[in-house]
Symmetry: C2
Subunit: 317 residues, 2 copies
């Protein structure tokens, strides 16, 4: 790894894989099919990529995340690509006072004023209470930040930072609440592949306020382990958070699988942004389109639990 001064820095295929998230196989395939990237070779005849190509790959990556397919964009010039980025449709626009707050938060994030951002959020939390805060500030802000990243208006590291701030705040708040003892026991997690932590945390906040006893496994728990965990902790409800990052049909398959393996008297709830768009529903699974649906769903569960106490169901062979 020597640097030749005055010459653009060259990196090997592993580094490119690490920095772009495109697999070695994919990189080689693009080269074969589209003629880009177009690395030179070192003494061992191995690919070495100049920094410009790595940069262009990053731009392509971003366009693909907003729906473009490789065949369209991989062969294009860098100018054409940046033009495309700028022509991306500006995100969804919603009115309301709280939306203004979310805008302000985004501004602070971009200005790198973390302390101020934290204070703004913390203040809003105090004023509105946890549930309204999550619903009216965090949820719209998530969307805003996600869109801003796709459009290239903020950097990945800024999204990371945002996520960290919210996590700190929500975790701190949830941790301050006394633990529920009487509510239903809710096991919270996501399926493998689903990395969005915030959805999970928002749900946990909502449920905790409503008096549910939450057991969070964090993200990406294999189905079999969810089953074991539900059994070990006598869960009444298994709640899964699903963003749009994973293809809908995969999620539906995974959910159906899980439903099949879980005890029939354990309810399954699925929430998250996926269900706002997908119209599909999986039999035996309660899909919650919004966090605001949680209180009603809990109420319904409690009604049913009174009529049909779980001890009866437990005695089934």
């Amino acid at each position: 790894m020597k640097i030749v001064p005055g010459q653009t820095h060259l990196v090997n295929i592993s580094s490119v894989e690490r920095d772009t998230g495109l697999s070695k196989d994919t990189l080689r395939m693009w080269e074969r099919r589209y003629g880009f990237p177009n690395p030179s070779r070192d003494s061992k005849c191995e690919r070495v990529y100049p920094a410009e190509q790595l940069e262009k790959l990053r731009v392509i990556r971003r366009l693909m995340d907003s729906g473009f397919r490789p065949g369209k964009v991989v062969a294009e010039s860098l100018e054409a690509l940046t033009a495309r980025i700028q022509a991306l449709p500006a995100g969804a626009q919603r009115s309301g006072v709280e939306h203004a707050m979310a805008d302000e938060a985004l501004r602070l994030l971009k200005a790198h004023q973390l302390a101020e951002l934290r204070q703004l959020l913390s203040h809003a939390l105090m004023r509105q209470g946890l549930q309204r805060f999550v619903l009216e500030v965090v949820a719209p802000l998530n969307e805003l930040v996600g869109n801003a990243w796709i459009e290239g208006r903020i950097e990945i590291f800024e999204e990371h930072l945002y996520s960290e701030q919210i996590q700190h705040l929500l975790r701190h708040t949830i941790g301050s609440m006394s633990e529920a003892r009487q509510g239903p026991r809710v096991l919270l997690t996501t399926l493998p592949g689903e990395q969005h932590k915030l959805g999970l945390l928002m749900a946990e906040a909502f449920l905790s306020v409503e008096g549910a006893h939450c057991i969070s496994l964090g993200v990406q728990t294999p189905a079999w382990d969810i089953v074991q965990a539900a059994r070990a902790h006598h869960a009444d409800i298994v709640a899964l958070s699903c963003s749009q990052a994973v293809p809908a049909h995969l999620v539906c398959d995974g959910l159906a699988d899980l439903r099949r393996q879980l005890d029939v008297n354990i309810a399954m709830w699925a929430g998250g942004s996926l269900w706002q768009h997908a119209r599909k529903s999986v039999p035996g699974i309660n899909t919650l389109v919004s966090l605001a649906d949680i209180p009603a769903a809990l109420e319904k569960w409690r009604m049913r639990a009174q009529v049909q106490p779980r001890t009866i169901a437990r005695n089934q062979p």
Copy 2:
């Protein structure tokens, strides 16, 4: 993802790569050279690995982390391997009261008594203070849990749960501290591929107590984004946490890469369990073998900062 009842669960090569940290190339090579792993093929003639082989690969991985070479151990029977594991110089045989505490915590985790576990940890935290708690309870407990998982004594979901509890506790505690204003600005994150959050969080706890101003990006930040973040937030130190999940040479490459791109007057620190085993060091990077080294490193940094204030260095062309 269909599970045929009565038949051991089969996974493809990608899953094995993800779960063991061994690259696809390496897996194929071992099969060619040592006859293990020995996957069967599906209808597409692609490798499918039974759960037992995955389990054995994990044990092998553990042995390699303690210095064994593949040629020695890959072809051995599972019994021979577990014998070797048990013959290992019993890792953290640190004596003392706190080790007993970690044992008790593991017992509670396995007994699914979360509330009690939380209380035990919380109590220890109060008694010992954050730094000693992290050093004497959390760190050994991490190792204990990691080993227990490799040896199959606890389930994945239990490890998830453990991680969640610790995160809640540490985040809550860090959040309660007033923010440092005068200390060095430390940017905390991990390289792509490194998913271990706990190491990062432990470091943040330690640094915060020492009066550093921590900016955490969470895990898996691409090198280029670390550079941007360091610039945007005027970081004095970039601190990376490295577990043994990612091959050491990859980590070293990534670190060297990052060092080259970062401003010379930004210090780089690398900590985590990786450095307890690897003897390698990367030029220009301060490797911290233990969390306990942090205070001294900070002191050293402060000394140097006094002699050579950063404004001077900043003015260099």
